[in-house]
Amino acid sequence: MLEPRDDVVPSEPRTSGQRVALFATCFNDTLWPETPKATVHLLERLGVSVDFPADQTCCGQMLTNSGYGSSALPLVRRFVDVFGGYDAVVAPSGSCVGSVRVQHRRIAEESDDDSLADRVAELGPRVYELSEFLVDVLGVEDVGASFPHRVTYHPTCHSLRMLRVDDRPLRLLRAVRGIDLVELPEAQECCGFGGTFALKNADISISMGSDKARHVVGTGAEVLVAGDNSCLAHIGGILGRWRTGIRPMHLAEILAATEGTPA
């Protein structure tokens, strides 16, 4: 197993009295609001009062990965302005957290604004992907969820290789009441989404997604879970086209589900 990248290891867990902000991410905010809603419900259930600073927008990853990193600079600045005052920032997206922790630093360093680079470096370690926040900061694995379904988990590339969340999401899922968690073959293979790759190299992207979808179907799962809705939209789009009836769901939504309020 490879070591985590030095520059992206989250700082030490904190205990109580924290000011916690939700970074919903622009895609979730606009297209998949159920995910940040579930994150809010879940965190509140665990006794964390979470804030949604309304001036947040987007981490700029799409710009950066498309070759427009300098255009992302205002968004990097906005991110530290909006979130710099919080003890912890939590986001239900491995990909966007990867962008904040790894790419923001590079963009800020390449700008002429030294103080921005310092602020970005200071904030980065306090920005957590959901499973990191639950396991490392809150120190919980059993979040009291209930989800009596057959589920398989796809680890998305950025959570796996940029953030190194490792088996944190699986540990959280294993503790869910009634869940039948089945292993996904070749789980660590990329699903082929890759942002604009899904359009610019659509044939390869679909070929990769189809192999992933085939493995998902093979598990007999009713639900495919992952920590990134963009990857889920891609794999889910293929599963939908094949009319498999398999439901793509974000990790937050499963962890928020209880016997009283099923997902």
């Binding site: 490879l2 000011r19 902000a21 919903a24 622009c26 905010d29 606009t30 297209l31 998949w32 609001p33 940040p36 809603k37 809010v40 804030d51 949604f52 600073p53 309304a54 001036d55 927008t57 987007c58 700029g60 799409m62 710009l63 990965n65 498309s66 070759g67 427009y68 255009s71 992302a72 205002p74 968004l75 906005r78 302005d81 909006v82 979130f83 710099g84 005052g85 919080y86 790419q103 590339c157 290789r161 940029m162 293979e189 990329c190 082929g192 989404f193 790759f197 359009l199 610019k200 190299n201 659509a202 044939d203 390869i204 992207s205 990769m208 997604g209 939209a233 789009g237 939908g240 086209r241």
Partner: protein
Amino acid sequence: MTTTPTPSRPPVPGPPQDTSPTFVGMPTFHRAARAALDDTQQRRNLHHATRTIRDKRSRAVAELPHWEELRRAGAAAKDEALDHLADYLIRLEERLTAGGATVHWARDAAEANRIVLDIVRAKEAEEVVKVKSMVTQEIELNEALEAAGVNAWETDLAELIVQLGHDRPSHILVPAIHRNRREIRDIFQREMAAVGRPAPKDLTDEPSRLAEAARLHLREKFLRARVGVSGANFAIADTGSLVVVESEGNGRMCLTLPETLISVVGIEKVLPSWDDLGALLQLLPRSSTGERMNPYTTIWSGVHEGDGPQEVHVVLLDNGRTHVLGDRLGRQALRCIRCSACLNVCPVYERTGGHAYGSVYPGPIGAVLNPQLRGTESDIDRSLPWASSLCGACYDACPVGIDIPELLVELRSRVAGDRGRTAESVAMAATTWLFSDPRRLTAAQRATGVAGRLVGDRTIRSVPGLGAWTNARDLPNPPPESFRTWWARERGGGTREGSGR
């Protein structure tokens, strides 16, 4: 004999490499890839082969608890050499010369080919035997020699298959990875007779029979040839030694039997000291073939009387490398030791094969190295930085820690910057504008909400202009309201900007 002046110290960034005639006019990556995806036989061969090597590699790497330390040591040795390249090259030249070798400097492919040809002509040789070497493919030495009436025989089994099949290599380490055993038998039976000992009439596709046919065919050439041509995996500055790492023993034959040995070596192959080999000789075989040690490692330091070649030439080649060296971020690509681990783990390479990359360097490393070595003038080089989903598997596998995803993103920004104003750049500017003010985002979300209420529960199977997505994928239904609208209603609005701690 050609003598070119030593490079100025430190090396000044040179020009990019000229695209070799074979790859001029290559289509963009995605066009070439589409054709490759349709070749189901090739895809099956590649899937099987890359999985096999990949699994072997993971096992070999997992055996070493200090793998990360080795990776760092390997990267540090290469960085030390690259950061002081001129010094180490001059040291290498001094040591090689002191050992009795003749050193030549070649700015580009044409110069290197001319130097090799001059030596071959001076020896009045009509053929050369070759050790597998990426750099001689890069400069298209075989073609240059053949044009001058000199036969260049590839002696590595896979390279032999490619050469006899009038084909191009599609993988760094396993050039014939796109061929299966049956295809190889057919090539041997059809082609061997024209260039030497024919294949046995009753040849089957059993690996041992195929290897035996190649062995018999090649042995004649080893014993006859008077000039050997090689590359080098490493060139050690402080001892003036060249190192070739191989599996089949054909290299050992080429490096020891002929009277004259010519080695073409990219200037980035230099290592500061003998001690650096310790880490690199562990990293390379485990990463490339998944073996703890490769079967043959040949090291020679100049000429030894009565033992091996009595005339040793070393051609140190730039061909775009100093151009890459001039780039702060891009320089790390020159650490590459051509192990091909990044190819074997790449889901894109696995589906497209090597030919779609339009260069002898395919896969993730090719996607970053080619646009740097050759510049981003051509369609293929401009499209290569997008030949990746940025999944990061290549970076994890790379034994010298080249951050290929980071370089791809950097190269994308260079290509996007060169293109100036395009539909895409306008769309990206609009994206920045939209996200620079949450009020604009809220307005846009209202439109999404209207669409969501219109669509309701129906499945979206096609949207004009989004065919690249909807040809094979349904679209997620837009929700009736955004998260921030829900939050404002349910939780009474968020805090204002800057009101944190």
